[in-house]
């Protein structure tokens, strides 16, 4: 037993987090910033945070993750990090020549109270930022929220670049939230099929799934361009996918530039995708093309074909709020039973949404924002499940409790595929179901007695 010390009895913990289901803000800010074309993320703090965030993103995406750091030592921690950041700007623009630097803070710079907007302004007025180059910044203290909050804060910071021209561009802003590069690609494909022209931000496709060619490009071809970000103020409207990841940026554009926004769930599964398509349709005033109808029909077909293996199966889930909400709804919609759900990201709204989605289930779901894997494991000991869906850290629980396991979310450190095969949209729904079926049926094939071991399932 790998987690042999986890007791079945649940005791209240007030101060101790064990096996967290979240991490800190800056890593989310760093991931978001990589979705701008020609952008170097920069971590304002000591270099350790930056090293950890780069390592973890590298392990998940299996791609180079470049980011600068202000490399604070004791002196900067006492006197403030302004000198370090100004020096960093100079070095960064001289050596790496990015189009834009996206700065985020860390616990350290937040605690000493470095005023990022002021430092940035000063650097700009003193000519430390070369002509034609940009700097944006987000405050991302890790003692508030989680990596999801950091992502959202950086996406919101991207709206600083918006510059209304007074002329509408006829496009829809699409904020995809923290999904995989391939998911962003898929969302663009769907929009194109719908005939909707979009500005997607951030967009890590082409950046964090770039090809191996013998050439290293610090700034690969993908990503939202600065021109596109500037143009977001002229768009017809904004579709923000995910309340936690994307809504703040969308509301900002609405508030500042009157670009009307709609906040939707992330389009994981049938119903959330339906709503996404519906929103695209109405926003752009287009008809849903036959191709999309076919994809939808295929998903419904698979659900009906394999329903016997989904029906009433109990599932435990850990992950980030936006993803979990859509996933829970999907599971409920195919008659599976999500019974234990945790996220580490705080927010009462999350628990409420999950309760709503599962209101018709004949049992009470265990749900906790600000939960951790330790608690989830204890719940599973008390009420066992047929399937666990979480990031890679869940594999210790899955092995101990002998439960089929699907890796989904962030980070996935030990498998490939998540960067390339989307799980959003109807096609993504097909893939999710295929993954669920595979682990459930593999388990059946393993456990059935020989008399029940059959060729046709």
């Amino acid at each position: 037993m790998l987690l042999r010390h986890t007791p079945k009895e649940i005791s209240e913990r007030k101060a101790l987090t064990i096996n967290p289901a979240k991490t800190c803000q800056p890593i989310g800010a760093m991931y978001a910033a990589l979705g701008i074309h020609g952008c170097l993320p920069h971590s304002h703090g000591s270099q350790g945070c930056c090293a950890y965030h780069r390592s973890t993103l590298t392990r998940h995406y299996k791609e180079p993750i470049s980011a600068g750091t202000s490399s604070f030592t004791e002196g900067a921690s006492v006197f403030g990090g302004q000198a370090n950041l100004t020096q960093a700007f100079n070095n960064i623009f001289t050596v790496y020549n990015p189009d834009i630097v996206a700065v985020h803070t860390t616990c350290l710079s937040e605690t000493i109270g470095d005023d990022l907007p002021q430092i940035r302004k000063k650097a700009i007025t003193e000519g430390k930022i070369p002509e034609g180059k940009y700097v944006i910044g987000a405050s991302t203290p890790s003692y508030v929220g989680s990596h999801v909050t950091g992502f959202s804060n950086m996406v919101k910071a991207m709206t600083e670049l918006a510059e209304p021209t007074g002329k509408k561009n006829g496009k829809v802003n699409l904020i995809p939230g923290w999904v995989e590069p391939c998911d962003m690609e898929e969302l663009k494909r769907i929009s194109k099929l719908m005939g909707v022209s979009t500005i997607m931000f951030p967009d890590t496709s082409g950046v964090l799934n770039s090809p191996l060619t013998g050439e290293y490009k610090m700034f690969p071809a993908g990503g939202t361009t600065i021109a596109e970000l500037q143009s977001t103020a002229d768009s017809t409207g904004t579709l923000a996918l995910g309340e936690w990841c994307s809504a703040d940026a969308a509301r900002q554009l609405d508030k500042k530039y009157k670009v009307p926004c709609t906040v939707l769930d992330m389009p994981f599964g049938l119903k959330a995708t339906d709503r996404f398509i519906e929103a695209l349709r109405t926003l752009a005033g287009v008809n849903v093309p036959e191709e999309i109808m076919t994809e939808r029909g295929q998903l419904v077909d698979l659900i009906s074909d394999m329903h016997q293996y989904f029906y009433n199966k109990k599932v435990a889930l850990a992950g980030d709020p936006d993803q979990l909400i859509a996933m829970t709804e999907f599971l409920v919609s195919i008659d599976m039973c999500p019974v234990h759900i945790i996220t580490g990201t705080p927010g009462k709204k999350f628990e409420k949404r999950i309760k709503e989605i599962t209101a018709d289930m004949p049992y009470e779901v265990n749900v906790k924002a600000k939960g951790d894997f330790f608690l989830l494991h204890q719940w599973m000991k008390n009420e066992p499940v047929d399937l666990l869906i979480s990031n890679t850290y869940g594999k210790y629980i899955a092995r101990d409790e002998d439960v089929p396991f699907i890796r989904w979310g962030f980070p996935i450190l030990d498998r490939q595929g998540h960067q390339y095969f989307p799980t959003v949209g109807y096609k993504g729904g097909l893939r999710l179901l295929e993954k669920i079926l595979t682990v459930l049926l593999d388990r059946k094939d393993r456990d059935d007695p020989e008399t029940k071991f059959e060729l046709v399932l």
């Binding site: 101060a15 945070c49 090293a51 950890y52 600068g68 750091t69 004791e74 890790s142």
Partner: protein, 547 residues
Amino acid sequence: MGAAEKLVQWDPTDIKAELIKKYPPKVARKRAKQIMINEALENGTPEITANVRTIPGIITMRGCTYAGCKGVIMGPTRDIVNLVHGPIGCSFYAWLTRRNQTDPGPEGPDGENFMNYCFSTDMQDQDIIFGGEKKLATAIQEAYDLFHPKSIAIFATCPVGLIGDDIHTVSRQMKEKFGDCNVYAFSCEGYKGVSQSAGHHIANNQVFRHIVGENDEPVEGKYKINLLGEYNIGGDGFEIDRVFKKCGITNISTFSGNSTYEQFATAHQADLNAVMCHRSINYVADMLETKFGIPWIKVNFIGAEATAKSLRKIAAYFEDQKLIDKVEAVIAEEMPEVDAAAKDAQDRTKGKTAMMFVGGSRAHHYQELFNELGMKTISAGYEFAHRDDYEGRRVLPFIKLDADSRNIEELEVEADPERYSPRKTEEALKTLEEKGLKFKDYEGLAPDMEDGTLVIDDLNQYEAEKLVELMKPDIFCAGIKEKFSIQKLGVPMKQLHSYDSGGPYAGFKGAINFYKEIDRLVSSKVWSYMKAPWQDNPQLSGTFVWE
């Protein structure tokens, strides 16, 4: 393209100039001092600047003090609850990511093992504003109630130092309260020092202060040693222990791979300290000598030849013919398989070149393995070494202490009034030295590298990429952050901090694994697929007609 062909194409001075060309003048001046063209001088090696601050904005490979303390030194000990006091991230990132393996051994599958757990106080903004001491005390209590461990270690991250939480007092109070659980703390905030190195030092100090020497119950065994600076990544420590056991050497405690609290507590009973990674653990070696009279020697179990040499050193120290014979017998038994594996790989690896930029000693140790493959290291350096790691221990008196090193505590250690007992007399040590066994000494990386190779401290992403472009090594070794940018250039990259997969690479069996791994990497067909067939000949010269 053959290796020889590549080597004549470059001149080290030009490469160095190329590496720093793009920097602003101040940065270029600083980096120039950290890039050394190796020359075998009469009286030693040229000087290199090391253990100095990283330049803001330059994408460094380095991590922080906390990573060196919790991640490297304390992480691999299985039965200590490592509780990180701070916001969630720091604890999360150090959760199982270093591939430290552990084996509860005789304690069986129910033996204590907290390594798969990640503990944090997950500080919130109110803790930052009002102080986190209460929360810390509660968290310690909760960990104690849940697990009843022998020991709880507390680690401070950046904000904790800034808001002034007194983690040491909280720990002491909790220790007194429990009575049967040793609680102590590490002030290893990330901003202290210039790299992980400061964290190693802090970890060494506290382990020595709070655990080493706590248990005087005698440990059985004839040739008792401690192995210092080995972290059982990918099972390295398992293999070294297998070899020790075969030789009849008792390893009381490894600092800190596959280790336990009790092993640290009884470490003072060893008769010799064998030091692998000097950088990370030298402080403990020195303190064990001063306080208890245990001498230390430098060893290296990376590479089959190096392993044999290190075993012979240990045997020579004990001056017992039985042990000397046994060690020879073990080497003789293990080597044929190793030789066969090396020979097999050499067909493909001989004459190829490598670069290594790892930690504080691996960039040195692994050169032995590459030598055994007939591969040459054309450039190497450390992420967080000090000058002595490059130039040898003889430069210690000449290293100037700067502000960043000065704020790391130096423990005042004295001989233990009761337990100090020099394991060898002065004369005995001297005789051994005359026979070639060096105590308290190592020569560093530079003397082992050829003339004209490049030794680079605190290499960064930009220089790494330039170096690879210019010198086209057949393999590059560093950490996970560097892996994919190097591979995008079409050069295989082997992780050597935490390995990417595989291991062990230490000892005899490890050497065999490593030969196979490097052979696989440099011989893989994948590196020939960078260009599509039509890219070699972009102009269409003829037309195909379908008929």
